[in-house]
């Protein structure tokens, strides 16, 4: 059996063996799980490696960055990455392997490659963005429309930070005198608590979302700090789907954080955020001014048109009136003409009828006269032919007895004296004999013939 050795002897053996076997320096990829700067200026860290799927620890090692190295590396790292050297970062470090009898296994950091960390952060951001995109929420907040009037501003910031003060001062000092109502929802803006505290603040705002027009997330202070908290998936998902537009002013000079990328609007500083909001109010005021101006212009134009119309109408009125008068006069004249001609026509027709009547009347009278004359002539003729003198002249005679015409001989007695009238005188005779004749005509002729004169 080997002679026992002390622990110190063993550890010295391990140290010497290690130093002998691994004399080189190695570039090692690892994740920082702890970073602590001690009062003496040395920086103590812990490196880990995780299973990418289960996140379980696979390897772990302590690391030391001695003060003289750390003084050079820390500012260089922050300058390059815009990011503090903190837990959670993936780093590429140049180390030498040590073993100390008392403190055990450790890595001494000789150099840090910030490019690796930047690449890793960028990749991580890209992955988060890709995931949000796959879920269809990446641009949701950007698609929200800013209200016409952005006044009620929910501010997420750390309570005592200069950023919030700058923001409020800038807002209240706006030259136009716009009214704003900023209100602080305090949150941790640095370190590991960033994600949960900002999400809590967002939840508080969402609970009274009708009270707010917009959310502003601002962070003042130095250029370098731990911003990895703004690059987490839960925070990005929360912001992307937040119902109010989010404006970020996280003050990160270098790359945009995921939060910046999903926010509605991204500006660099709290002051810029205030300027942006004042700008919105200015646009709103200009829109109102434009409307007022358009209204005045349109009114003026309308009034000009109306005035011109009125003047035109007024100008036309006398002409229109005289036209109307002329038309009425013409109508009256036409009516008068019709009346006159109508009366004339009636008079003419009357005269015509009177004339015709006169003609007919004259004709009628004349016809009557002619007829009467003719009748008179006939009567005269008849009277003339009935004249006894004419009969006497033709040889007839009239016998009278005591002045009476004798037509029947039986009225005479024998011995009666009768007087016979002929054309040229009278004959006195005595009746000797009377006899009625069988033929009245023959007897009369015999009795009164001029040859039987006495």
């Amino acid at each position: 059996m080997q002679k026992p050795i002390t622990l110190g002897e063993l550890n010295t053996l391990v140290r010497d063996t290690l130093a002998c076997a691994m004399p080189d320096e190695y570039w090692v990829q690892a994740e920082l799980s702890e970073v602590r700067t001690a009062a003496n200026g040395h920086c103590y860290v812990e490196f880990v490696q995780k299973n990418p799927h289960t996140n379980a620890l696979v390897a772990k090692a302590r690391g030391n960055i001695w003060r003289n190295v750390w003084q050079l590396l820390e500012p260089a790292f922050e300058r390059e990455t815009g990011q503090r050297f903190v837990a959670g970062l993936k780093v590429l470090v140049l180390v030498s392997v040590q073993f100390h009898e008392l403190y055990g296994y450790s890595l001494t950091v000789l150099d840090i490659d910030p490019t690796y960390t930047m690449g890793d952060l960028a990749r991580r951001r890209k992955e988060i963005l890709q995931q949000l995109d796959d879920e269809g929420v990446l641009t949701l907040n950007k698609e929200l429309e800013l209200p016409a009037l952005v006044q009620r501003i929910a501010v997420i910031s750390s309570a005592g930070a200069a950023g919030y003060g700058d923001f409020c001062n800038q807002l209240q000092a706006n030259r136009e005198g716009f009214a704003f109502y900023p209100h602080l929802f305090p949150a941790v803006m640095q370190g590991e608590q960033v994600e949960p505290s900002i999400i809590a603040a967002l939840d508080a705002i969402a609970a009274q979302r009708d009270c707010w027009d917009v959310v502003v997330i601002i962070r003042g202070g130095g250029a370098t700090s731990d911003l990895t908290g703004f690059d987490t998936y839960p925070l990005a998902a929360n912001c992307a789907q937040f119902p109010l537009p989010i404006i970020t002013g996280i003050g990160h000079e270098r790359d945009d954080t995921v939060l910046d990328l999903v926010a509605h609007t991204r500006v660099k500083t709290p002051t810029a955020a205030a300027e942006f909001i004042i700008g919105l109010a200015q646009e709103t005021a200009e829109a109102l001014g434009d409307l007022s101006a358009r209204l005045s212009q349109a009114l003026a134009a309308r009034m000009t048109v109306e005035t011109r119309r009125l003047e035109e109408l007024a100008g036309k009125l006398p002409t229109l009136f005289s036209f109307a008068r002329l038309r009425e006069e013409q109508k009256i004249a036409a009516a008068f003409l019709r009346l006159t001609s109508g009366v004339e026509r009636i008079t003419q027709r009357g005269q015509q009828r009177l004339y015709t009547f006169q003609q007919q009347f004259t004709l009628h009278i004349r016809t009557c006269l002619l007829r009467e004359e003719h009748r008179l002539q006939l009567l005269a003729q008849r009277a003339h032919s009935a004249d006894p003198e004419r009969l006497l002249a033709r040889g007839y005679s009239i016998t009278l007895h005591h002045g009476h015409v004798v037509k029947d001989p039986s009225n005479l007695a024998v011995g009666d004296e009768v007087e016979t009238r002929v054309e040229k005188g009278k004959i006195r005779s005595i009746v000797k004999n009377t006899s009625p004749n069988s033929s009245q005509k023959g007897e009369c002729l015999a009795g009164c013939s001029p040859s039987e004169k006495s």
Binding site: L291, L295, L299, R302
Partner: protein, 64 residues
């Protein structure tokens, strides 16, 4: 007209825009213009108040 508590800045602007367009397009007769003008003036006043006057009520509500 719309009751004050229901009126929002956006609604006021939309109404104002509508009135301006109606005047611009000669859709109003002169009698209506007077009334609409009064309405527009009220709306402009409302918008200006909202823009420039700090409403203590709003302040109080938001602080609580």
């Amino acid at each position: 007209m719309t009751k004050k508590e229901e009126l929002t800045y956006e609604k006021a602007m939309a109404q104002l825009e509508e009135i301006v367009q109606m005047v611009e397009n000669n859709q109003l007769d002169i009698d209506q213009i007077g009334e609409k003008l009064k309405e527009a003036k009220t709306l402009i006043e409302y918008c200006k108040d909202r823009l420039y006057k700090t409403d203590e009520e709003v302040k109080k509500i938001l602080k609580s």
